[in-house]
């Protein structure tokens, strides 16, 4: 099962969509893969925009 290319997991990781065992395995892979860390950072920034799109506006103030 873990024979799959770990690079495929970057988006699932950025979206927190990996099950615990695969998350840990991917984090071990990240330690040795600078390109993967960069890709994950970019995908996390994109995911964060989806998060901000969900923002409420407390007290009528723009979030």
């Amino acid at each position: 099962m873990n024979a799959v290319d770990p690079h495929d997991a970057s988006a699932a990781y950025a979206l927190h969509a990996l099950p615990e065992d695969e998350r840990l395995a991917f984090e071990r892979h990240l330690e040795d893969c600078e390109a993967c860390r960069e890709e994950v950072a970019e995908l996390q920034a994109t995911a964060a925009l989806l998060g901000r799109a969900a923002a409420v506006t407390p007290c009528g103030r723009p979030a």
């Binding site: 995908l43 995911a47 964060a48 407390p58």
Partner: protein
Amino acid sequence: MHSADHGGEATATDGPDLDQLMLWTAEGDREAFSGVYDRAAGPVMGLVHRVLRDPAQSEEVVQDVLLEVWRTSGRFEPGRGSAMTWIMTLAHRRAVDRVRSSQAGADRERRAVLLSPGLPFDDVTEQVETHMEWQRVRRCVHALTDIQRETVALTYYGGLTYKEVAQSLSVPLGTVKTRLRDGLIRLRACLGGTP
């Protein structure tokens, strides 16, 4: 202490940027943290409520996240991404942790709700349509294929693992990973910059 150097007119949308406030927070500057709080609380609340859909649980998780931002601010590295990304990533992680720990028997019900037509991106676009910036997000979200949009939404807003999505949609595991990656890369290309 640092914040005082920047005059008294700073508001939630003015003054030092969030990255700088986080760096000062990491040095133990409470005033800087209150600036972080003012800017981050709304987005964190919005995201956590979106994922958990339960006001009481959301409130707890939001407080935990903001406390964790204060406690672990030293781990924020500006070179790795913006403070807003760092905070929203933490908030999403904690919201998803809560969904998974409280889910147990509610799984199937939750999946059924999530898979009903119209959810979950429509809610989002309704809330954000008044903001120019979020019109851009909406436009880009709609530039995804239906399948990419659904898959990204089920994981990000629904808190499902890619395996659960594969099971729910009866598609192979690898297909879900690919859809997530293609979807996010397409979104990133459309949106350009950082939050």
